[in-house]
């Protein structure tokens, strides 16, 4: 029992430790010559964006694997990853806007990558909304996995069309959201440290989120087992000689 509790707690410890390291690295790294201290926002923004893409890729893999194997284990992976992905996409957008306002003076630009991220956010929000409409695990897994595949395959098309739209429609904007060219080793360490730390956070959250889906499914199973009528329940034994 003691060892089991330890196994269940390691994700929380991993999240705490990796975030502490990432935070320290991003605070001790030097300010950028052009952007000043604002460059520190990059150390949380870029890892969030990276995780957004990774999470949705995992959802795609989980959906395909479910359609092939029909194992609910894959569906749980896809679902957990989509939820964490939506969170990190929202975080990446919020942090990007927080970075854009002091740097460019606007909260939002119609840059291709920004537009694509916002569209992805809504694709997977729809995926989560779809999952909420169905209680039956197998039915839900089947529907969600088809949408997971459709969404992921459409993303590259959205990507190309948005890039063409920006390049053909208007001249490239003066301010591009590319990060500054990184030469300082401490800045590079802060960025890579952030990416590694956030990836550990993602894996840890996945472990706990899958555990939660598992528990919730068991709860639904138990509740439906209680509610389900028993065969022959409505039949009452005939009473003989009741009339007097």
């Amino acid at each position: 029992m003691q060892s089991q509790t330890r196994i269940r707690r390691w994700p929380w410890i991993a999240i705490g430790l990796s975030l502490a390291v990432a935070f320290t690295l991003s605070m001790v790294s030097p300010a950028d010559s052009v952007q000043g201290d604002l460059v520190r926002i990059m150390y949380v923004h870029v890892p969030s964006a990276w995780l957004a893409y990774l999470a949705f890729f995992v959802t795609f893999i989980g959906s395909v694997a479910y359609l092939i194997t029909r194992s609910l284990r894959w569906d749980r992976i896809a679902a957990a990853s989509a939820e964490i992905g939506v969170y990190f996409t929202g975080l990446a957008i919020a942090l990007g806007m927080t970075w854009a306002k002091p740097t460019w003076g606007v909260w939002w630009t119609w840059d291709a990558r920004l537009t694509l991220t916002a569209i992805m956010f809504f694709v997977y929000l729809g995926y989560l909304a779809l999952r909420r409409t169905t209680d039956d695990q197998v039915l839900r897994a089947g529907r969600a996995s088809v949408l997971g595949v459709l969404g992921a395959i459409q993303i590259p098309l959205v990507h190309f069309s948005v890039i063409w739209w920006r390049t053909l429609h208007q001249p490239p904007s003066l301010v591009r959201p590319d990060g500054p060219a990184i030469q300082d080793p401490m800045m590079l360490a802060a960025l890579i440290g952030g990416v590694v730390a956030f990836t550990i956070v993602y894996v840890s959250l996945m472990v706990k989120r899958i555990e939660l889906i598992h528990l919730e499914d068991r709860k639904v199973d138990m509740e439906s087992a209680v509610e389900r009528p028993v065969a022959g329940e409505a039949v009452t034994a005939p009473e003989l000689g009741a009339s007097s």
Binding site: G126, V146, L150, S161, V162
Partner: protein, 222 residues
């Protein structure tokens, strides 16, 4: 793909179009809804003729994408679960059902596009140019939207949120169609090549059609 398959497709198309003729959902609900939306926009943004002429084509395509999907939604929700069970028991290939429903939705969407398009041309004084290419983009947009609507309609089929969920799922996925259609019109106006945009739209149509056919049976089984 046997002849039986295409016979089934034809039967589904005939059934859907007959139902539309009887009930007139697209003619009496979706088309007037799209037309009144075009009427509302100038009330909100102002009636400056030059401005309306400039934003007209874009507004038209946004309305086609947002409201056009309702054509496919209506079809998905009009089929009850017992009806679906009956068709599958009668041996209807789920893939044939998907193709048939997509084609009938596509035809109705094309009618929707044409009527609402005439309203847009009239209200916003849009110039109609490059007709063969324009028709091609209208057909591709109708096909892509019909396929997306039919596929997501099958995914959310008979869930509690069915009809409200489909537009949310389709809207972000229809971005390549929206960009393709609007950029193609701009290309025609300024004399650029629009081949790449036509190819983007055609790719969407092909990919969604392929996913729909491949997943029709798994979706039916669940």
């Amino acid at each position: 793909m046997t002849t039986g398959f295409w016979h089934q497709v034809a039967a589904v198309i005939e059934r859907d179009l007959l139902r539309e003729r009887r009930r007139g959902d697209v003619l009496w609900i979706t088309i007037p809804f799209g037309a009144i939306a075009l009427l509302l926009i100038p009330l909100a943004v102002g009636t400056d003729a030059a401005l309306l002429r400039q934003i007209g084509p874009g507004m038209y395509w946004v309305i086609v994408m947002l409201f056009g999907v309702l054509v496919a939604v209506g079809k998905a929700s009009s089929e009850t679960l017992p009806q679906q069970d009956a068709s599958s028991l009668a041996g209807l290939d789920p893939a044939a059902g998907f193709v048939g429903r997509s084609v009938s939705s596509g035809v109705l969407l094309l009618i929707f596009e044409l009527v609402v398009g005439l309203v847009a041309v009239g209200l916003y004084n849009i110039s109609v140019i490059g007709i063969p290419w324009l028709v091609l983009t209208l057909v591709l947009a109708a096909a892509g939207l019909a396929l997306l609507g039919t596929l997501t309609g099958a995914i959310v089929n008979s869930t509690s949120a069915g009809t409200t969920l489909v537009p949310l799922l389709v809207a972000p996925l229809s971005v390549p169609l929206l960009l393709g259609a609007t950029q193609a019109y701009d290309g025609l106006r300024f004399g650029h090549s629009i081949l790449s945009w036509v190819l983007v739209m055609a790719t969407v149509v092909l990919i969604v059609a392929m996913i729909g056919v491949l997943t029709a049976r798994p979706l039916q089984e669940t």
